[in-house]
Every structure is written in structure tokens, then in C-alpha cells.
Symmetry: C2
Subunit: 132 residues, 2 copies
């Protein structure tokens, strides 16, 4: 059994924390945990906007706290994000996420993220076999 505490990771296991200018992601589970998915708690700064396109991953994102919106860039449709709303990128959907208030999200990735990925210019993460 693996037991991990968000607060302890933030204070003491900085290799599990990935941050960009306006978001921070705490990797509670990564590929090497052997679960077949990775699980991240991601916090997006109030007022920030993010365009991502996970060409190589499926991702589900559950809003635990905060307020915002997501736009599907293929259909142009926008959905409200609030506690209890989940979106799942089952078609590797390119999207823009906006945080009106600070957003706290619980995210699952399949295949699991290894922890070494960076967002590329096209908003994607590399596929597992492209990761060094």
C-alpha cells in the first residue's frame, strides 16, 4: 500500500511537484508506482488561462474547489467548471481552461505520466516512449 500526503509532498518531495508560471501540479502517483494511471492534484491560479492538447494521453479532471470554464477548441462549446464537475478528454480534445477563481483539480492520466514530461509548444506531453 502506498500512502502519500499532499502537504508533505509540497514541503519535502519537490521532485513530485511540477510548476509553471500559473499552475502547480503535485504528482501523488506516477508511472513507476505501477498503478497503470497517474494521479495529480493541480492548482491553477485565479485569472489564469491554459491551452492544453494531450495528444498521447487520456485525462480526467474533477473540480474540488474554485470556479472557471473549459472550452472545447474543436466544437467551440464552453462548459462551466465548479466543484463536482468533471471533464474527461476522451478524444485527446484540445481545450482552453480558464480559472476565474483558484481551481483545485484531481487529475488522472492514462498512460501514466512519468514525471519528466514538460508541456510542449503544442500543449501536449510526449508519449511514454518519447520520454527520456
Amino acid at each position: 500500500m502506498i500512502v502519500r500526503d499532499f502537504d508533505k509532498i509540497v514541503k519535502g518531495e519537490r521532485d513530485r511537484v511540477v510548476a509553471d508560471a500559473k499552475w502547480t501540479s503535485v504528482r501523488m502517483l506516477l508511472a513507476n508506482d505501477g498503478m497503470g494511471f497517474s494521479f495529480h492534484i493541480t492548482v491553477l491560479e485565479a485569472g489564469s488561462e491554459h491551452t492544453f492538447h494531450y495528444k498521447n494521453h487520456f485525462e480526467s479532471v474533477y473540480c474540488m474547489q474554485g470556479k472557471g470554464s473549459i472550452t472545447d477548441l474543436k466544437t467551440g462549446e464552453t462548459h462551466e467548471i465548479k466543484p463536482g464537475v468533471m471533464y474527461a478528454l476522451n478524444e485527446h480534445d484540445k481545450h482552453t481552461l480558464r480559472a476565474e477563481e483558484e481551481l483545485w483539480m484531481a487529475c488522472c492520466f492514462n498512460p501514466p505520466v512519468t514525471g519528466t514530461e514538460v508541456h510542449r509548444e503544442d500543449g501536449s506531453y510526449a508519449a511514454p516512449d518519447e520520454v527520456s
Copy 2:
């Protein structure tokens, strides 16, 4: 893109809600969503105790709200459960979960749950190929 709202599911899509005497699980994603994992929001009643043994699944469980503990029945070790703590059953660990306060948990299963499983007497869910 799939977008689902916990509150709307609870009110209107009762086939996605599974409940036992002392817990309720809302299936935000199931096997037929094609993500390769399922994602559930599970609420455990204050004062309740649950012994589960997912022999055929890996499960991660992140505490969003509440207070309790988990005991690994192989090692006898007990861990505190509070917001920000995650446990992952990476060895199909038989365990007892206790809710001192009502627990709100975000759960991922691999392989994904189909939605038709019931907890068997041994605390497990059937494997995907055993589910009718």
C-alpha cells in the same frame, strides 16, 4: 469531451449511483467511457467501517474531506486519513477503512469498473471478464 456534474448525476442518473448501507459511490467515469480507468466520488458515512479487498483491481483513493483511518490488514499498519492524504492499493491490499467523520473520496480504478459489480463476500469486485 465528456463533461459530467456530480449533483446532476445524483439527481437524474441513478444508474451511475451505487449505494450500500453506509456508503454511496457516484461513477463519474466507467469502463464504457473508454478512458482505461474509472473514476468515482465515494462518500462514507460518519462512524462506518469497511473492509475491502480488490483482488482484481488497482485503486487509488484521495481524501477531499473528512477524517478517518485505514489499516493494511497484511501489515497491521494504520494510517491517518484526512484531506490531502491518498492511499493506493498497488498490491491489491486487503484493508479496513474507518470514517470518524463523513469521508469524501476521489477514487480511480484500473481496470475500469463497468458499473455492474457488487462487493462480494470477500470484499472484492469481480474481474472484468467475470462481469456479465
